[in-house]
Amino acid sequence: MPRYLVGRLAAMVGVLLLVCLFTYAVFFLLSPDPAVQVCGKNCTPERIDQIRANLGLDRPFWTQFLTFLGGLVAGRTYGEGAGAVECAAPCLGYSFQSSQSVTDMIGQRLPVSATIAVGAAVLWLLVGVVSGLVGAVKQGTWVDRVLTGLTLGGLSIPNYVLALVLQYVLVVQLQWLPFPQAVPFGEDPGRWFLNFVMPWIVLAVGYAAAYTRLTRANVIDTLQENFLRTARAKGLAPRLVWRRHALRPALTPVVTVFGMDFAGLLGGALITETVFGLNGVGKMAADSIAKNDQPVIMGVTLLAAFFVVVGNVVVDVVYTVIDPRVRVAA
């Protein structure tokens, strides 16, 4: 097990390095000159050269890339003398648009994205897995058919449409909820809940529908397995058959998918955040892409990659716990 973990961690670092290199190369090769963007109105060629030198853009690709990696691991200093700016590790550089530290920007916005992701995940897991199970048990009945219809609906509504409809009905017309704002939990738990509940619902609907189908299909498949027939034939109580033998293998794929989905969401729920004006990592990604703010795009990309890679490892480890068949020989 430890050797397995070390191997996985090494592979994880490798993947992150590759993502780094790839993202950096894409922006290096494809994007317009950031010095010109920083320069703005009334820009002179001398000032462009000056900015290029300050940002290190006049140096070769590999030098820039290694400096970036160095900053990530050990921090770096921009400029020199009285104007020097210390950027502590993990240094992701400074926004070309606002000169804010990218690490700080992410730090400020991650709690918002995490709140949205966790709340939505709880919601969709509860709704998705329960209705999937109900659908499987009541297979073929009207209950199952209603659930199938709802999931189709849930999957087919684009979430920005749902967001705007919900906002119009719940906020503008009924005035049950406020226009969502990122109120911290510590400030006022009640207002926190009221402000986040709509984003949670919007984000969870699509996932809940997908999880319903996934759970239902897996459970139905599992119920037809030989070992379940054996268990039933042995005369085991139906409740025990379900709990001990059916649910575990049926839900393993759900865990895998959940790990990936949730990890992906920690990197920002782009549409939900943008529509509701919640300043999370996803909205930051959208804004930075619109403004071509490379250091921020880099930072968000790396963050998202980090969560997905870590999520993957976690899923694999959890897998070994819940599914004896994939346990690695130590």
């Binding site: 104007g83 606002s98 892409i289």
Partner: protein, 571 residues
């Protein structure tokens, strides 16, 4: 597959947001006739004004930031020697004294300017504001990393060769401070409008030694009526009263509200919804211009009286590259001026509510504007006959094709299509060259990369004269290979000479009349086709008053320094 779709949708949403951000800046005077809501009412003291925004301000540091949006914000927290007059002034385009007791006194043939500071000025930390702090703040403009805002200090005030700001090069000897209230500037050459230069936002005073590196990125030192109470970049700015600000020293800011809250990062459509609904504290809210898609809803009776329009100070125009054939022939350029259907372009911009048609270079909202139309047509729909006649005279009756550079932005694409349509009947085949928004100005400002024509806009750096409107666009000697604003590449000896002469006039009122004449003289050469001037449509909360336009401080939009609440206790 789902992931891919998500990304595509996200990008589409993002593009819409970027558009929204652009609209936010633009916008003169809100005279909406007999409105039931008195926007100009004097607000009461107290309360919190809410500002809903899509994008954060560029920088809190005035040496770094310099655009219509942030300049307006700066006036709440910073003061300068002079500043644009408040929006309710008799002449809102004028430059008036702020920290100084009066406008500057020129001497030495206009190369030396002297200002005297008022008494009782202090920063939020209690440090008195003397001539030394004013000088220190201004010298930050020379710092290569910090001084990225307004270029006027560096361009106009003399400085030793290689001077790089107070943190690297120390004292700036060309600004003298003989005593605590006197400050003397030595210029490179006479600059009659120096009062407008010291009103630039990067002329803000700061305590000596402060503001090095990135220290003003998140914190500031206020000299105006408000100071920073909280700042979450991209999300929230809260301002509270600066008790060290003495209202007796300030004739510009009324500072009625106790606090300001800027909520940023909101979707433009959501902002409109909140303004329409006006629930809770949104009754105390103002925002940028309404989205074009929300406009029809404003026709409803409950909103009609709440709509406030202000016209911008920027002209949207199509430049005609005078170095390319056959656009080098003035008759061809005049023909295009006749032929373009400006009404269709206005429609493409969002209709009569969001834009007014332009026939001059300098818009009505900027001093130096002269009313004329050299290329008239009924309803501004274009005069194809007059155009054809001119083309025939130029030997171009068989027609030609030309390339029009445009930004990859829906509004500009629609404008370009309207132009394309209106030039087709006179035999000009317009090909559109769509350039990515982020590379647009760089591309068209590079002489070797620009094509025959381009759609762009120009906003003056101050509204008290046309000196930052006509010269950058039409002065031949300053044409550069890169970053060139003279897109027509007009280099006409007569125009150049007049620009030199009018720019040197010390009687600014007389100069403004001359700028108007020069505007018309330029348009006789037809280097551009003025298209329109965008207007902002606001829907201020019911409880907000003191709404005046400021051409100088807010590019024609709502002047923050006069805004307040009718009834601070209501919410």
């Amino acid at each position: 597959m789902k992931r891919h779709l998500t990304t595509t949708l996200a990008l589409a949403t993002t593009a819409a947001l970027a558009l929204g951000a652009c609209n936010g800046g633009g916008a003169t005077s809100g005279r909406t006739g007999a409105a039931a809501v008195d926007f100009a009412a004097t607000p009461a003291k107290g309360g919190t004004v809410e500002v809903l925004q899509n994008a954060d301000f560029s920088y809190l540091d005035p040496a770094r930031g310099w655009d219509g949006g942030v300049n307006n914000f700066y006036r709440l927290v910073y003061r300068t020697l002079t500043t644009p007059a408040p929006g309710n002034a008799k002449d809102p385009n004028a430059i008036v004294p702020d920290l100084a007791t009066g406008l500057g006194t020129p001497s030495d043939g206009g190369k030396t300017w002297t200002y005297t500071l008022k008494d009782g000025l202090a920063f939020e930390d209690g440090t008195p504001i003397t001539s030394a702090e004013v000088k220190f703040g201004i010298s930050r403009a020379w710092d290569p990393e910090i001084g990225i805002g307004s270029p006027y200090a560096k361009n106009v005030i003399a400085a030793p060769h290689g001077y790089a700001g107070p943190y690297r090069s120390g004292d700036l000897p060309t600004i003298e401070t003989p005593d605590a209230t006197t400050i003397v500037f030595h210029l490179k050459k006479p600059f009659p409008e120096f009062d407008a230069v010291v009103g630039q936002v990067n002329m803000t005073p700061f305590p000596k030694g402060s503001g090095a590196g990135d220290s003003f990125i998140k914190k500031i030192i206020a000299s105006g009526p408000y100071k920073l109470a909280a700042y979450t970049p991209g999300s929230l700015i809260q301002l509270e009263r600066n008790p060290k600000w003495d209202p007796a020293t300030d004739q510009v800011r009324t500072a009625k509200p106790d606090a300001w809250r800027f909520t940023m990062g909101l979707d433009p459509a959501t902002i409109d919804e909140r303004l329409l609904a006006g629930q809770g504290t949104d009754a105390n809210a103002i925002a940028g211009t309404i989205q074009a898609s929300t406009l029809p809803r404003l026709q409803a009776p409950q909103y009609k009286d709440r709509v406030l329009r202000m016209s911008g100070i920027c002209t949207t125009y199509m430049s005609l590259n005078t170095t390319k054939k056959p656009l080098d022939d003035v008759r061809v350029r005049q023909a295009i001026n006749y032929a373009v259907d400006k009404a269709a372009v206005q429609n493409a911009t969002g209709g009569t509510q969001l834009a007014t048609i332009a026939t001059t270079v300098v818009p009505t909202t900027v001093a130096g504007h002269k009313d004329y139309d050299l290329y008239p047509s009924p309803g501004h729909k274009g005069d194809a006959e007059a155009a054809k006649k001119l083309l025939a005279e130029a030997g171009q009756s068989q027609g030609f094709s030309m390339v029009l550079d445009i930004r990859s932005q829906p509004k500009m694409q629609k404008q370009a299509e309207a132009i394309q349509q209106s030039l087709k009947p006179i035999g000009i085949d317009v090909k559109l060259n769509v350039i990515d928004t982020s590379k647009y100005y760089e591309t068209i400002g590079t002489r070797s990369q620009q094509h025959d024509a381009a759609i762009t806009g120009w906003c003056p750096d101050w509204a008290s004269s046309a000196a930052t409107f006509i010269p950058p666009l039409f002065y031949g000697p300053t044409i550069t290979d890169k970053g060139n604003p003279n897109l027509a590449q007009l280099d006409d000896p007569a125009i150049n000479k007049r620009i030199d002469e009018v720019g040197a006039m010390t009687d600014l009122a007389a100069a403004n009349r001359q700028w108007g004449e020069l505007d018309e003289q330029v348009m006789k050469l037809a280097p551009i086709v003025p298209l329109n001037v965008e207007q902002a449509v606001y829907l201020p909360g019911r409880n907000v008053a003191g709404l005046f336009a400021s051409p100088g401080a807010a590019t024609g939009g709502i002047d923050f320094v006069l805004v307040g609440l009718r009834d601070p206790d209501e919410s």
